[in-house]
Assembly symmetry: C2
Homo-oligomer: 113 residues x 2
């Protein structure tokens, strides 16, 4: 989802665009993180516990991407042992709304084939 050369007509305007969404959402773990954070802030280890299949490297990468996108906020506490908490931003909750929309669609269209 990161390549150039397309035209898009969102908003009625035909604009040469990159075919990018401003949010990375189609990768393997972003949707799961959105879900995991929907009930409030979580720390790194909690997220790992809720997603035992993701390695720490990939989870960290996902969270950094989401932070860049502005969908999660990161708060690091200077303690020992360290503690870091993640939380959805308003923008993150909007994107979660899209995920919910897709789930609704799936419920209505995917059950019967």
């Amino acid at each position: 989802m990161r390549t150039a050369g397309f035209r898009n007509d969102i908003g009625g305007e035909q604009v040469e665009c990159t075919h990018d969404l401003p949010y990375r959402i189609g990768d393997k773990w972003t949707a799961h993180v959105l879900r995991a954070l929907q009930d409030g802030r979580r720390r790194f280890t909690q997220l790992r516990a809720e997603m035992p299949w993701v390695t720490p490297k990939v989870l960290a990468e996902t969270l950094r991407a989401m932070e860049r996108d502005g969908t999660v906020s990161r708060e690091a506490f200077v303690e020992n042992p360290p503690r870091v908490e993640y939380e959805l931003t308003a923008r993150g909750r909007k994107v979660l709304g899209l995920l919910d929309l897709c789930c609704d669609w799936a419920r209505e269209n995917l059950v019967e084939t």
Copy 2:
């Protein structure tokens, strides 16, 4: 989007599932093909003309995947030169509906940041 190990609660049931959609839609070209076919059947060359950036190999791969998914139908005419036409199936129009839903969401949520 093709890995195992997840739980999904679509339809209220918690089922160990593969995290697959039955339709490949997050790849690079499927959405564009859906759009290109939304107004009726097109032949291979027409699709290429509407998407000058996709190579024939990748377009053919995409169409074959969509045919397997049951979202497009393919009709080959035994002529010379050969002619092949593609068309959305009812299922394909459903998936296009999801795409439209996402576009609506984008219009409402992505214009102002």
